[in-house]
C-alpha cells in the first residue's frame, strides 16, 4: 500500500469554529507547527471556498452557532469536498463522541487541545487523506484505462473476470473463440494487467464484474 511520506508536516488544515478568537488561536498554533491553515466561521464559508490543493483535513467544532457540527460531518461525507474530519468540542459527552466516531471522525478532541494529541490526530488525518487521494488517483487511472475499451472489449472483460473460459465467453456472446482471444488480448494490454488475477482485482475496484454470471451456472 502506498502512503504519503509524513516526516515533515505538510498539508492544509481547514478549521471551522464559530468563535473567531478561538479559531484564530488554533490557526496560530497550527501555523507554528508548520501547517498551512484555512479558517472558517461557519460551514457555508467552508463549502464556498475553493478546495485546498495538497492533502488536508478538517478541524470541525461540534457546537456551531445555529448548526450542529455532527450533522455537517455526515453531510460532508457525501460531498466531493469530503476529507478526514477531526472533531473539537468544548464540553464533549459520550453520545456526541460515539456519533462522531461512527461517522468516520479521526478523533474527538476536547478544547483546549493537548498538543501531542492534536499532532497525532492531524498526522493520522493527513495520512488518511493521502491514502484516500492515492486510492482516488489509482481508481481514476483505472477508470481512464477502462474508458479506452470498446463496448465489446468491456463485455469480454466482464465475462472473463468471472472465471469463464474463452469458449464459454464466445458461446455467451455468440462470437468465435478466436475473436474472443483477440478482444481478451486487447483488454489485457489496454488495462495494463500483468495477469488475469491483476485484471480481476481491477474489475473489482471498478465494479464491472458481471455478478449474474458464474462459471458453473451456464
Amino acid at each position: 500500500m502506498k502512503t504519503a511520506p509524513s516526516e515533515a508536516p505538510q498539508g492544509c488544515i481547514s478549521v471551522i469554529d464559530d468563535d473567531p478568537e478561538l479559531c484564530r488561536s488554533i490557526g496560530s498554533l497550527l501555523r507554528a507547527m508548520g501547517y498551512e491553515v484555512r479558517l472558517f466561521g461557519c460551514t457555508r464559508d467552508f463549502l464556498a471556498a475553493p478546495p485546498p490543493g495538497p492533502t488536508g483535513c478538517l478541524l470541525l467544532d461540534i457546537r456551531l452557532s445555529g448548526e450542529n457540527g455532527l450533522d455537517f460531518q455526515e453531510e460532508l461525507n457525501a460531498l466531493p469536498e469530503a476529507m478526514p474530519v477531526i472533531l473539537m468540542t468544548g464540553h464533549g459527552d459520550i453520545p456526541m463522541t460515539v456519533r462522531g466516531m461512527r461517522a468516520g471522525a479521526i478523533d474527538v478532541l476536547p478544547k483546549p487541545f493537548d498538543e501531542d494529541q492534536l499532532l497525532e490526530a492531524i498526522s493520522a488525518a493527513l495520512e488518511a487523506d493521502a491514502e484516500l487521494r492515492a486510492q482516488a488517483a489509482l481508481l481514476a487511472g483505472l477508470q481512464r484505462r477502462y474508458d479506452q475499451l470498446t463496448p465489446r472489449e468491456r463485455q469480454v472483460m466482464a465475462l472473463v473476470v468471472t472465471g469463464l473460459m474463452n469458449k464459454q465467453v464466445a458461446a455467451h456472446l455468440e462470437l468465435s473463440e478466436i475473436t474472443v482471444k483477440i478482444h481478451r488480448g486487447n483488454v489485457m494490454r489496454k488495462m495494463a494487467a500483468q495477469s488475469l488475477a491483476d485484471l480481476v482485482r481491477m474489475a473489482e475496484q471498478l465494479g464491472v464484474r458481471d455478478a449474474t454470471i458464474s462459471r458453473y451456472s451456464i
Partner: protein, 512 residues
Amino acid sequence: MRQASRRDQDRPTAGRNLLYSGAALCLALGIFALDVMSPLQGAVAVLYTIVVVILARQGSRLLVLVACGVCVCLAISGYVISHGNDPLAGPTMRLAVSLVAIVLTGLLSASQISAARARRGADARYATIFDAAGFPIWETDWSPAYRLLQHDPVPGMEAVRQAAAGARVRNANLQAGRLFGYDSGAALIGQSVSMHFAAGAEAAQAALYRGLRAGLSPVEVEAQFVTRAGETVEAVLRASLPPDSRDWSRVLVTAIDVTERNRAQRRLAQSHAELAHISRVTTLGEIAASIAHEVNQPLAAVITYAKSGRRWLAREAPDAAEVRDCLDQIAHNGSRAAGVIAGIRGLARKSDPQPAPISLEDVFAETSAMLAPEMRATGTTVRASLPRDLPRVLADRVQIQQVMMNLLLNASQAMAATPLGQRRIDVSAFTDGHFVEMVIRDHGGGLGGRDPEALFRPFFTTKPEGMGMGLTICRSILEQHGGTLVAEAVPQGGLAMRFRLPESDSREGPTP
C-alpha cells in the same frame, strides 16, 4: 333641665340655685308691693326683668318662661289693682312698655340658654372624641415656634430644637400617652414631646412648622420617636390649626403609629428582593451550559495561544511578530473570560436593590453580551435599535438586567418552533418625556389567543421545566421601580413585551 352628665360641681350649684330662686321670689313680691302700694308714677313693672335675668342664670328655659309668665301676670295684676278704674292713659302705656320689656328679656334669656347648652354639648362631644379616639391625639402650644418663624422663616436645626423644646402639651388623650410609653395622657401635659424625638426628628418637626407657616393645614410628616422605655416608634404626625389659633397657641396633633406597618413593608421588600434573587439564580442556571461555554472558549484560546507562542519561540528562526500576537491575544482573551465571570458574579450576588440612574442601553448591551452564546446556540439573532440619547432611568441595575435577561430568554425560547432563519428578536426603545419604554419582540407563535395577562399569573408556564415565576417577578420588579410590564400579541405573529421605567430626572425630590 340639668344634664346628668355634668361634672361634680353639680351639688353646690343646686344649693346656689335654690338661693337664687328664693331671692328672685322675694324680689318679685317686693316689686309687686312697690307697684301696688307706692304712689310712684314710673314703670315700676320694668323691674320684673331683673327677676327674669336672675332666674335665667339657672340655665333652665322652662323656669325662665314660667318666671316671665308670672311676672307678666303680676304686672297686669298690679295695674288692675292700682289703675283698674282709670281711663286708658299714661299708666297703661307704662304697663305696655313693661310687658314688652319682660317678654323680650324672657325670650332673649331663653335663646341664650339654648345656645349655651348647644355649646356645652359640642364641648362635651369634643372631649368625648378626644378621650375616646383610638389613636394618639394631643393639643399643644407651639407659640415659641410661631415667634421663631416670624423672625426667621428658614430656621436652623438648633433653633427648631429649641422651639420644639419650648412647646407645651395642653391636653393629651390616653393613646397619646401610650405612644410615648406612659400610662395616661395626663403625664404628657405641660411637657414637650420633643424629649422623645429620635435622631433626625427635628427635620420632621421643621417640615411641620414650614407647612403650617405656608398656610397648609393639616400638615403630615413621618417621624421617629423614642418611647420612655427606649423603643423606637415610627409615626405619621398630622398637625392642624383650629380657626381661633392664629399664633399657634393651640395646635392639634394626631399621630398614627406606623411602626408595625413600616416593619411589614420592610419585610415584604426584603422577601421581594430574595425572591428576585432566587429567580435570578434560577435563570442563570438555565443558561449555565452556555455560560460555561462562554468562559471555556476564551480560556481555550488563552491556552492554545500560549502553546502556539512557545512553538513560535522554539522554531529555528523565532518569529517575534507571531509571539507578540500570541501574547496580545492571551491578554485579550483572559480579560474576556474575566468579564464574563464578573457579569455573572454581579447577577448572582445577593444584595438589596440600589436604585441609581442607569442607562438602559448599557444594561442591554451587557445583558445581550452575556446571552450571546445562548442566542448563538439557538440560532437567534438579536436586532436592537436603541436611540443614542435615551434618558437614564432610576433603577437597580442588577434587577433590570434580570428583567431583560428573562424577556430575551423567553423570546428566544418562544421561537423554538420557528424556522432557523427567522428566529429574530427586535429590541427598540423610546421615551415620552416621563417614561422610557423598551419593547422586546419575538417572531414566535405568539399567545395563541390566550389572555396576555395570563402570562403574569404565578406558576403560568409553557416550558416543561419552567417554574412559571419569571414574568411574575419581572412585573413586580418593574412595579417596585414605578414602572409597568405588559404583553401584547403582534398581528404579524409573535409577542411584544413592553416595559416602562420612569426617567431618573423626571422625579421630583428624593424618593421616600
